[in-house]
Symmetry: C2
Subunit: 111 residues, 2 copies
Amino acid sequence: MRPLAHPALEDITLAGILHALADETRAAIFVGILGGGCAQRCAAFATVSERTVPKSTLSQHFRALREAGLIRSERQGVEMLNSARCAEIETRFPGLLPAIVAAVLAQAKAA
Amino acid sequence: MRPLAHPALEDITLAGILHALADETRAAIFVGILGGGCAQRCAAFATVSERTVPKSTLSQHFRALREAGLIRSERQGVEMLNSARCAEIETRFPGLLPAIVAAVLAQAKAA
DNA sequence: TTCAATAGTTCGGAATATCAGAACTATTGA
DNA sequence: TCAATAGTTCTGATATTCCGAACTATTGAA
């Protein structure tokens, strides 16, 4: 288990962000973390959009979000607390995350 | 050569858009089409960001953008004219494309 | 201290997507 | 009719993604 890799702000790329959020499950997880108010455990998303996500898949989704720079993960005892790096990303790509989150919510509402 | 498939507005998904634009080359093409003022031929992007894109790859990129609903392609004589479906998408996901385009430009400027 | 339980991670193989060269199709102008 | 131009499709190599199984790390008992 290698230590968690979080890219520095200047290493976060637009392509990385878009790729990470292009997956419906990951987008839902990210919005869930954002909307949670506080840092969220991975297991909180064992079911997403009424679909069960296998543990290994879930772990890879979190890794993808982490490596894209979208979330920060810190071990807290036996679990992992994940929070969104919104403020940082806002300085680099102003308005990007709010627009994507709004689109996620708009689509969820439409469905 | 089957007829060109353009999704209806209601069939355009956020995931599709993000996936299409998560590729640097495709994002550059899309921004180029947008910034061109008029519809652009595919061949106009034979080199993108100082890199040569093989014809077949270029064709697949245009197909990806088309199937994501980002562009509309119409044959005009021997060539293909591509235009962005911005206005339509704006009604479905307000603010999304402007934010992504701004991010593409911001990142291009930073590099 | 040892053990079991919990939370995530990594490994491995099958399914899937992407890239680019080669061959193909469609349109136009000699 | 033919050649030239602009894209598309086919194909095989390469790279990703998914998920079950095995693994690691932390904690709270017994």
